[in-house]
Symmetry: C2
Subunit: 334 residues, 2 copies
């Protein structure tokens, strides 16, 4: 342990401090495996992504799950790096799909280089993640992680068609979120338990925690898109509205819309004919139906489910931190 | 065996007939695994790709290698489907990267749907390929196929920067081709041998055959881009020139260029400032230096290497067909 932990630190910083040696090993492995002997464009793009940082929440979940379950081997590091590579590859491809210009407050790779580089370097990272996940030689781990990769892509494709369709209800939204976000959280925690040889009950508990945490995380993200400020989130308020993405606050508002409001959503989201002042109008409709508050309650509900899921796991400092983490994720909106 | 084989059939049709039952099993598995419960866009796009057909050369190589080496189990079918999924995923992403409008004589998925669908459905097929490759439970097979996926992406990224750079020489060209094309051919034949438990020498022979065949195949493809007709190839003559891709005939011409010719290549390939008549001018320079003929000789040389590589393998009908296939690949340009 190389860093001191104190109670004033944010939960993910406490975990990062507790798992400092493991996290350093993950960083070293990521740096090693994102290199390329032949194609200089690859380290350029990946270095940009690594410098942009991010909290490395997902690999930390894998490390925490493995350590909580008493794992003493070296392979949780490979699995944590696998999870981060899958995440980074999906970010590169998401930015192409969304035509994003900013990510974590910095220009995106598709803007700095081009869409081609983002697509192909993303493919490279996917392939590297699959190389990494084979190294522990555990069939269940490979099944979990390759299933997660398929579920993520499926969720992203579903979002393509569902996001601009006013018929999309909360059930479809949940399916999209389980795919594009929660699948990697739950795989991250689950493989940590599996590599540690945890019991079936404990592995299921870790899966359920990751699933609920991931859903809470995405709902908060969708909420901050209407409530946050660019400085704190690195995103522009109203991006989802401008990109015509039907997220939970809007889905709840569509369900309560009168004829005039419905016509507004049809025009702005389904048809994408947006004018000056439409974002303000959208916010005013969301407030009228109190859907931001309702969405916030949903996020808190998922955080509670995440915490409750951990019950079958033994007492452990990391268990306490995972509980705090679930609270912290939704504290951004409270 | 459900189809008759006769000597007038093309080698890949003879192989398809010989391996008819296996190929049907591969088709059924591909259809099953390209489905999606949740995202209807996925089967739409994948059905378009499957209907467009193609010869399924790469999965056939896996089946042939496994059967030649006496394999009697079921998993060569999974590996063949894996290889085809990796191939299809790269085609989807290539068409986005190249902004292609036609593939196998039909409009591309990025044109019929959009780039987003092509990127994300490609990701889905990559993930599905990784699910499939884990099923036989063979670590060497997973290593070979995940390495191939990384090498393919690396070759594609290298091509991005090398293709418009007149400093690209034949060695770099070969590296790109080994990545983007030959890596999947050699992995396809190698895993067939590995799953069958063939000897190290035989597995190496299969790898070398696939590597040389893949290189010959790509050189022929690059040559047909200057020599072929759209009806036969489903491509437009001069596509590579218009897309400013430095392929072998041009690399050889650049090496022999006088000052005026060099200026022509700098303008048309490096700077991409093309005018009417430039393709004719390019062809006339290629003919002046006889680089199309020299490229053809290279392709034949690689086909000979492919055939010679098969020596360590025992006599087998499929071995004869693989030898004929190498001749056939280059016969398109003789």
């Amino acid at each position: 342990m190389t860093m001191k932990i104190d109670a004033t630190m944010k939960p993910h910083d406490q975990m990062a401090a507790y798992l400092a040696d493991d996290m350093q090993a993950v960083s070293a492995l990521i740096r090693e495996r994102m290199a390329s002997k032949h194609a200089p464009r690859i380290p350029e793009v990946t270095a940009h992504l690594v410098e942009a940082g991010g909290k490395r929440l997902r690999p930390m979940l894998t490390l925490a799950a493995a350590r909580m379950c008493g794992y003493g081997g070296p392979y949780h590091v490979h699995l944590a790096a696998t999870v981060e590579f899958i995440h980074t590859a999906t970010l590169l491809h998401d930015d192409v799909v969304d035509e994003s210009a900013q990510r974590r407050g910095r220009p995106t790779a598709n803007l700095l280089w081009d869409n081609q580089s983002s697509v192909l370097v993303g493919d490279y990272l996917f392939a590297r993640s699959f190389q990494l996940m084979t190294e522990p030689g555990s069939m269940p781990v490979m099944r979990i992680l390759s299933n997660a990769a398929a579920t993520i892509a499926e969720g992203e494709v579903l979002q393509l068609t569902a996001a601009q369709n006013l018929a999309t209800d909360e059930a479809v939204y949940l399916q999209v979120v389980r795919g594009k976000t929660a699948a990697l959280f739950s795989a991250a925690t689950e493989v940590g338990g599996v590599i540690a040889g945890a019991s079936t009950d404990q592995v299921k508990a870790l899966y359920d925690y990751g699933d609920a945490l991931g859903i809470a995380f995405q709902i908060v993200d969708d909420l901050l898109d209407y409530q946050g400020d660019t400085g704190a989130t690195g995103k522009n308020v109203g991006d989802d509205f401008r990109e015509r993405k039907l997220t939970l606050p809007v889905i709840k508002a569509v369900a309560k819309a009168d004829a005039e409001e419905r016509a507004f959503w049809v025009r702005t989201i389904e048809k994408g004919k947006q004018e000056d002042g439409d974002l303000d109008q959208a916010l005013s409709i969301l407030n009228k139906h109190a859907t931001l508050a309702a969405t916030q309650r949903d996020a808190h509900g998922w955080a509670e489910k995440a915490k409750a899921a951990l019950a079958p796991l033994p007492d452990h400092d990391l268990k306490d931190m995972l509980i705090d983490l679930a609270d912290y994720v939704v504290s951004r909106i409270s």
